[in-house]
Subunit: 279 residues, 4 copies
Amino acid sequence: MCRWMAWSGQPMLMDEFLFKTKHGLVDQSLHSRMGAETTNGDGFGVGWYGAGDGPAYYHSISPAWGDENLRELAAHVETRLFLAHVRATSGTAVQQTNCHPFRHGRWLFVHNGVLRGFHLMRRDLMLAVDPALYPLIEGTTDSEVLFFLAVTLGLEDDPPGAVARAIGLVEDVGRRHGVEYPFQGTIATTDGERLWAFRYASDGKARSLYFSTSYETLKMLYPDDPRLDDFDEETRVVVSEPLGDLVGVWNPVPEASWGVVQPGPDELSTFRPAPPVAA
Amino acid sequence: MCRWMAWSGQPMLMDEFLFKTKHGLVDQSLHSRMGAETTNGDGFGVGWYGAGDGPAYYHSISPAWGDENLRELAAHVETRLFLAHVRATSGTAVQQTNCHPFRHGRWLFVHNGVLRGFHLMRRDLMLAVDPALYPLIEGTTDSEVLFFLAVTLGLEDDPPGAVARAIGLVEDVGRRHGVEYPFQGTIATTDGERLWAFRYASDGKARSLYFSTSYETLKMLYPDDPRLDDFDEETRVVVSEPLGDLVGVWNPVPEASWGVVQPGPDELSTFRPAPPVAA
Amino acid sequence: MCRWMAWSGQPMLMDEFLFKTKHGLVDQSLHSRMGAETTNGDGFGVGWYGAGDGPAYYHSISPAWGDENLRELAAHVETRLFLAHVRATSGTAVQQTNCHPFRHGRWLFVHNGVLRGFHLMRRDLMLAVDPALYPLIEGTTDSEVLFFLAVTLGLEDDPPGAVARAIGLVEDVGRRHGVEYPFQGTIATTDGERLWAFRYASDGKARSLYFSTSYETLKMLYPDDPRLDDFDEETRVVVSEPLGDLVGVWNPVPEASWGVVQPGPDELSTFRPAPPVAA
Amino acid sequence: MCRWMAWSGQPMLMDEFLFKTKHGLVDQSLHSRMGAETTNGDGFGVGWYGAGDGPAYYHSISPAWGDENLRELAAHVETRLFLAHVRATSGTAVQQTNCHPFRHGRWLFVHNGVLRGFHLMRRDLMLAVDPALYPLIEGTTDSEVLFFLAVTLGLEDDPPGAVARAIGLVEDVGRRHGVEYPFQGTIATTDGERLWAFRYASDGKARSLYFSTSYETLKMLYPDDPRLDDFDEETRVVVSEPLGDLVGVWNPVPEASWGVVQPGPDELSTFRPAPPVAA
């Protein structure tokens, strides 16, 4: 059920991480090692910040491994912050409007995981979306509804709080429909300046999530590795499963956590869903 | 905003009407004469009854004129009842789940026209869909919501009544949102045995709709035309705009009418939307 | 590098073998057990004989496992002879014109395998195609060139001889370009009446190929299995790798063999490429 | 049979010309005024120079007017030189490998027009392509073969001479196959530094071609137009048919001409095909 990665750092061509790195995200679309499925071939998307207003995206229903346009874009778009996502559908249609990242204003959002029993709770969740945002929902995935719930519940002002309220609502609605463990997954969202990542599952067994260790640590670990010359101290990669083969580069994000990559020190905290307060 | 056709009669290859007839439906996808747009290139669909359970469909986001698979199917699928539809989007995404005909059980449904101000009323209309049907809505068009409203309001038992109630609801919701003339269009729906067609617009200026005259009339008009040897007396074609070049073949369906093609005599009646009764 | 299957027998819906059978061909597109690759997600095709003139095909660049139209067709097209193929490209573009089966007149053709060093020999092989057939080559695969070489060399009159001459030519041209083992693979071709299958590799290690045992054997092996009631004595399935779970159903085709499924007794013979005779 | 445009000047977002300009290229895909067809909906492509090595392209088989990814790219890719092309096929398949611009090394190439009787001369023309380039031909259009003939005949060293020799060869081969007027069209090609454009037809009636007048002229004509503040004196646009509504902006390129847009003064000369010299 999907793999994703996020890059924040100095401007880089996207293909460095999508194609060139050993076990990069495109290789994970064909041979995921840690995902729920080996194959993530039901479309993909990349979103980036660069020229023009707000973030851009490219969504495709082809498998990432065979998409010629993705190779072109990855080799020719330079960006200091991007999200990429390869999809394995849990049942909803393979169509561009169901590809991540989803976008609202300056915000991008990717999700790996599932809202269990989504067909049971879809109507209730859609009703909980701000009516002004409702017409902006273009696809039919659980992930897009989750995103617009988070926007409804304050994503732009307080991302960790809004995601906690959105997942709390999903758990509440799911349980009312008899779903024991409604949420599963990892999330990344960004406004182009800061990048928030979340790992959580209602049953305590969330999909894997890793972040790269700090540049200073890397440089001490691998003083002679020329690949690290391209990085600076604000560089950070967050991934569903490790890229490449440098031992020690990747730190697992603990269960039930969220973190933020930002100018200056990053942060890592405990994540706890915030159920809706009864009226 | 779309063109469609319906065939009911003895088994025929679909390409007779889609490709071979002069100004057939595929030609209309490129050169519509009477539609709101000349080009209907935003995907298409065909639905037919034949082998296997229930109706089949083929939906594509390619323009009909260039779709190689459509040529193949049309030349090799024989059917006694089919609907075909070429789309010109009024804004919603070009994706297979937005292609007509829509299907529920044994029913197929096509629509040419628009629910004006659909973004304003989408949420209210979705709420009016039977919650048990809600998860079956796969696309984002006004037409699909209209279809599931009709199913909610009794399509399977009373097609003319259900469509009248669905359009009545659309007009009611639209007007509450300040839309003066909420509905515009023509509709065909079938259960594989009978075929209902509707022509109606809130402002009294509906899209064009024609049906073929009876076989007996045709035979009298054109006693020597060998093309008519392929037809029998139960054969009927309903179209957004005339196919071919036989003068006298086509009867316009009057404004605000519905008709049914069925074994035995067909019927044509006045159509009047049935607004919801206040609770 | 691809998986395929062929059915010849009483009229059946295609989905019996593509979707419903355990480890059917669509499952093999995602989880092949015996292929060179696990994933065969670079498009697919089906070709069948039924209504209309000559064989029909449906080609798609989507993975077979996610193609909604394939589900529809498979569940609604009934045929007594069809070929189906899921593709894993060895480098050429993922596009409909590169999807199998290829067609010429009444003939269909599928290939699982590779012409090694095809980029080296493509020009020479294209030159060897009958100039009258040359404009009919629409794609860029090695398999399509092989098919048109076989047509050039007499496929319509002597299929085993023509395939032997075509592969002999490939080996000759390949070796002149320094390729030691130019051909690898299995082939099926049919005129709608008889079905020929081939297994051969220049290095003696061809891809797997199986055929179903005779109906009488099956009935003796499984006297109480109701699935066999659907079959008659002329029924035969040929597959890259076994479908389903009935032990004893499948016979491996030996290395360097060809066989023909036809009315009356089928045949199985040794295959030997026929190199071109020097002028 | 296609429309194209080329931009050379200061860095601009592509959507300025593709979407924002009145009667921009995407509008021409739906409503061409001067083309052989009104609709150019059989795929499109853009190629540009920017970050990364060599030119990038984006090819799509969707109509340009409905392609969401094109809107995204156009609004977020900034470039000082790009080519864009909307396609109306003259018969070859709608597939990405048939979309312009074609690319070889640093070179891009677009063509609007046709090699008449291409199916008759395809084999001979393919044989005339340098065998080392032959495997690089990925599609099946006349235009791509013309491009690789030009590369074979010296495009990288002498673009006007190479195009003259390529068209001379096409005319020679065509006439030997009984085609009276084998070539028709306009061409643009660029190495990222200079941009060459050609207008020529064997029968003297070539497709239209226009270039923007010099910035200085524009500024004198429209001293108060703020749009011109974005332009500098090296800015030049070349188009199949005029964009926008500024009278006096566009100069027709005369029949049988070629021109080059380059740093310093541009040039415009007579074009004359160079037939092959008999050995």
